[in-house]
Symmetry: C2
Subunit: 258 residues, 2 copies
């Protein structure tokens, strides 16, 4: 096991950005601790906003209902006319502003500032695909089983948490981006199995199907590619490519049959 | 009383837009009834968003805390390294999106659509200043007391709700926009009295002070204008004009003294 971990680590270290991110792990996770506090404060601020909104909006609606109950003569009184029109303009604007005034941006700026103060470069998309690629290299070198890896098992030992459907899907996408359709096929198939037991699914079935069908086609299984693309067209009728792809695979199979 | 109401109504009717708004009052208030339902549904949707966010963010933080507790060796395992980096990229992005995803716009579009379906032209800023002007004309014609009007009293009778500080302030602004500094002075002074008993005040003291000081200056009371502007500069130290105005009034008084 020691060897595998070492090889993997070397593969991981090949990516300089990733190296920085991992070397600074403790720092990074330390900075992330404040996230709970910030999110708790955000949720409290938002709840207070909703309570204010409810009070203000109820007052708005209550006073309108009173005006309606009195009937048209309500506004023959000039003070009432003024107050009613002020309510339907200025006060309604206040209701709108209370609805739109989500305080997330300020809190997120807080978190960003914390991260910047921590002097640690947080990982980005490049680091994510680097880490997925490291997993694929490990799998390739040691001929590891996709189901095992996706269940946190290396060499028969449970060494990590299970991957979710979306975790698995992202490894499949890394393989796809390297035109490694053999691994795309295996990881996307596992992703499809995983989401069957997820509620709600961590990734949509239609997202998996398009990659899976294309990988099957690349591996020479056009019939199964067609069958999955038909399912894709059925569950995602507005998908921009599904119907065109069905035809494409159908034409290909007819060509073969001729 | 009948006469006053009639005169006022004539003044109100002078504004064609306002006429439309008032003639359609019942319709308009009918359409506004749905507002409670829409706002209730908005508040429920937002509470659900906050609950989801709390669950998701806690899971995010909990798993980071676990990684930190294990220490740097946590990521010598390539599955852990991948999962950790995915959490700090994709899953953190999800937390951000859940924070930013205020659903107000969709609900407000709903309300706008309702209003448009009701075929009624809702009042705007022009109608509001028209209604305030109608109040001022009525006051002028019948020499009515500002305090009485602001307390919903016409000719000794309580005919409407009390005006708030902000309601009163807006009438003062309508007077100001017509360069009617005599009425600006009176209504802004009442607004100032009103907010003393409001918590929180429906309009900020500094907003009233600037109008009040200028109206006092226009009515020839430079000393009191200076005194209020000094107070304005004190309570709103970043006000763009307060300090300049203090100097302006001071110079004016010195010129007089010479």
């Amino acid at each position: 096991m020691q060897t595998i971990v070492l090889v993997c680590l070397l593969a991981v270290l090949a990516n300089a950005d990733l190296f920085t991110a991992i070397a600074d792990l403790q720092h990074m996770l330390g900075a992330e601790k404040d996230v709970t506090t910030v999110i708790d404060r955000y949720i409290a601020a938002e709840r207070a906003r909703l309570d204010d909104l409810r009070r203000y909006a109820y007052e708005y609606v209550h006073r309108n209902a009173h005006a309606e109950a009195v009937g048209p003569e309500f506004v023959t009184n000039p003070i009432n006319a003024y107050l009613l029109i002020k309510r339907l303009t200025t006060e309604w604007k206040n209701v709108e502003n209370m609805m739109l005034n989500n305080k997330a941006s300020a809190f997120l700026q807080n978190i960003t500032a914390n991260r910047e103060n921590s002097q640690v470069k947080f990982p980005g998309e490049v680091d994510l695909s680097g880490a997925a690629t490291a997993l694929l290299r490990l799998q390739d070198t040691y001929n590891l089983d996709t189901h095992d890896l996706a269940n946190g098992i290396i060499g028969g030992e449970k060494v990590a948490n299970k991957l979710s459907g979306h975790d698995t899907f992202e490894v499949g996408r890394a393989a796809y981006n390297q035109k490694d359709y053999y691994h795309t096929l295996m990881w996307m198939q596992v992703a499809l199995n995983k989401i069957e037991n997820e509620s709600p699914p961590s990734v949509e079935e239609w997202e998996i199907l398009e990659y899976l069908a294309y990988a099957l086609y690349q591996q020479g299984n056009v019939r199964r590619a067609l069958s999955l693309t038909k399912r894709l067209a059925k569950i995602a009728p507005n998908h921009p490519r599904a119907k065109g792809n069905v035809k494409w695979y159908e034409d290909m199979l007819q060509g073969k049959d001729m």
